[in-house]
């Protein structure tokens, strides 16, 4: 039998003993007062925050992917020319684009579409026709893509008023920012996990110190360390699990109650879970339970070292 198998079996025995419980062993440790509430509240609050961190991480991940994939497939040509040349230069640019391999579609935006783009800044009654507004051409890439530099050179030669923008300049920082936000979400989850472990360790230490006499009596009547530790570990693990279930459900409800992107468009309104993403917070209570298990077990065995 390999060492790994033996470890797995040992871990399973620990988990099974925890699940199965021993009402008599549980009774030998008296109720631990405020530490019970402290553990319950800590696990609940941390699970609630973990749900938000997870939502942030997943939402920014989706945003980064969308910016990276959707915007990478499109480009814009802006034509700034005197009014009498605008139509001719636009046609010339469209002709070049129609001859460029890798361009799936190219079209000039209508005055209404251009007005809609400017509306958030200048209002709805903007007289687009009477203003020297550049003409925009939307370019959609084919799957194989086009040679951006070649297109830029040709446009410079044949359409003097054209400025080619493949979005790279502003897309990259956005994708990078979204990626950083996603990482921050995961860092937050890691910090929440460590904080939970620290808080539960403190609560367990307080409970162990308050029950020093009980532990002493148990050792003197022949209790093994694992027996004593299990009584504390089971109690704290169940509390953390219960608190985390409540916190996770509350966090998911709060995310669900956030305004949707359709109701009020904006960056943060995309925060939330989509589809199977709603399953993502479900391991949080298990994580909290696991953290409580190991934190209390460590604290208990450290405390027991001082008791003969």
């Amino acid at each position: 039998m390999t060492r790994l198998t033996r470890r797995a079996q040992r871990l399973w025995r620990l988990v099974w003993a925890l699940i199965k419980g021993d009402p008599r062993a549980d009774r030998v440790v008296p109720p631990t007062g405020f530490t019970a509430w402290l553990t319950l509240f800590t696990a609940g609050a941390m699970a609630f925050l973990a749900v938000f961190a997870l939502a942030l991480s997943l939402a920014t991940g989706r945003l980064a992917d969308r910016w990276a994939s959707e915007l990478a497939q499109s480009a814009t040509i802006r034509i700034s020319a005197p009014a009498e040349q605008m139509e001719r230069q636009t046609e010339a640019a469209l002709r070049i684009l129609s001859q460029t391999p890798g361009v799936a579609e190219a079209r000039a935006l209508s005055p209404d579409e251009q007005r809609a783009l400017l509306e958030p800044w200048f209002g709805a009654d903007l007289p687009v026709d009477s203003l020297p507004i550049p003409q925009l051409i939307e370019v959609i890439e084919a799957r194989r893509g086009f040679a951006a530099e070649g297109l830029r050179l040709r446009l410079r030669a044949e359409v003097p008023g054209a400025v080619f923008d493949d979005h790279t300049r502003w897309r990259r920082p956005l994708v990078r920012a979204a990626g950083r936000l996603r990482s921050l979400g995961w860092v937050s989850i890691a910090l929440i996990t460590l904080t939970t472990a620290a808080m539960i360790t403190l609560a367990a230490n307080a409970a162990l110190a308050a029950n020093a006499q009980v532990i002493g009596v148990l050792r003197l009547v022949g209790a093994r360390d694992t027996y004593i530790a299990r009584a504390f570990v089971r109690r704290f693990t169940i509390r953390a699990l219960t608190g985390a279930v409540a916190g996770t459900l509350a966090g998911m409800a709060a995310i669900w109650a956030l305004p949707s992107a359709e109701e009020a468009s904006g960056f943060l309104t995309g925060l939330g879970f989509a589809g199977a993403g709603w399953l993502a917070p479900l391991p949080i209570p298990l994580l909290a339970g696991g953290v409580a298990f190991w934190a209390t077990r460590g604290a208990a065995f450290r405390a027991l070292k001082d008791v003969t």
């Binding site: 030998v28 008296p30 109720p31 002493g216 009547v221 022949g222 093994r224 360390d225």
Partner: protein
């Protein structure tokens, strides 16, 4: 069963016990006496490994103390019943559960030993107090409950630290009778006490060896005992 050979114990550099040699053989009965602070409790603690000797050799049931791990100590304590001076109960559990505690921690369901527990409670005269909490007991009841807990696992050795310290004379004699009955059943008994009248009374019932701690050393008591 328990053997101390040249054992010493020091705390913070001060020697509390020196060159102690003692053998608790099966069926033996010992009294340990000496003035308060002489080291009687310390010597008892060395016998069940609550304290580790700083010199010499302690052997429990044939095993040198230094070779016994924490789990081993737990198993050995199931063979040594200890009656502490302050009794040390779990105050949130009823008397019956406290008495059954050694069974519980050893993985023996007390429900399976209900009859024996009932007999034990009757033997120490606590049937009516089975559901009471320890703080509700009188001094004598606490001592008898502690004795019941010490012997519930049918240990080979019983160590009692001032078991009659809080008792009147009548109750002390009753407890002494319980201990001598256990000794007749083959249990080895060591009682630490400064009550010389109790020792004199015991010697009328049982062949007890009386030891005294004097100047950190263990010596045989004088002819007056």
């Amino acid at each position: 069963m328990i053997e101390l050979r040249g054992v010493g114990y020091s705390y913070s550099g001060d020697a509390l016990l020196s060159d102690i040699s003692l053998t608790l053989a099966p069926g033996s009965f010992h009294f340990l006496t000496g003035p308060s602070g002489a080291g009687k409790t310390t010597l008892l603690k060395l016998c069940y490994l609550e304290l580790k000797s700083t010199s010499g050799q302690v052997t429990l049931f044939g095993r040198p103390a230094q070779e016994i791990g924490r789990d081993g100590i737990a198993r050995i304590r199931r063979r040594i019943g200890v009656v502490h001076q302050d009794c040390r109960f779990l105050d949130h559990l009823p008397v019956l559960d406290n008495i059954a505690l050694p069974l519980t921690v050893a993985g023996h369901p007390p429900e399976a030993h209900r009859e024996e527990l009932g007999e034990l409670l009757a033997w120490v005269g606590l049937e009516a107090r089975a559901r009471a909490l320890p703080p509700e007991l009188s001094g004598g009841e606490r001592q008898r409950a502690a004795l019941a807990r010490a012997i519930v696992m049918s240990p080979d050795v019983i160590l009692a630290d001032e078991p009659t310290g809080n008792l009147d004379w009548e109750m002390s004699l009753r407890l002494l009778t319980l201990l001598t009955e256990l000794n007749r059943l083959g249990k080895s008994v060591l009682i630490a006490t400064h009550d010389l009248n109790l020792i004199r009374q015991a010697k009328t019932q049982v062949a007890a060896r009386v030891l005294r701690i004097r100047n950190r050393h263990l010596v045989a008591a004088g002819a007056d005992l």
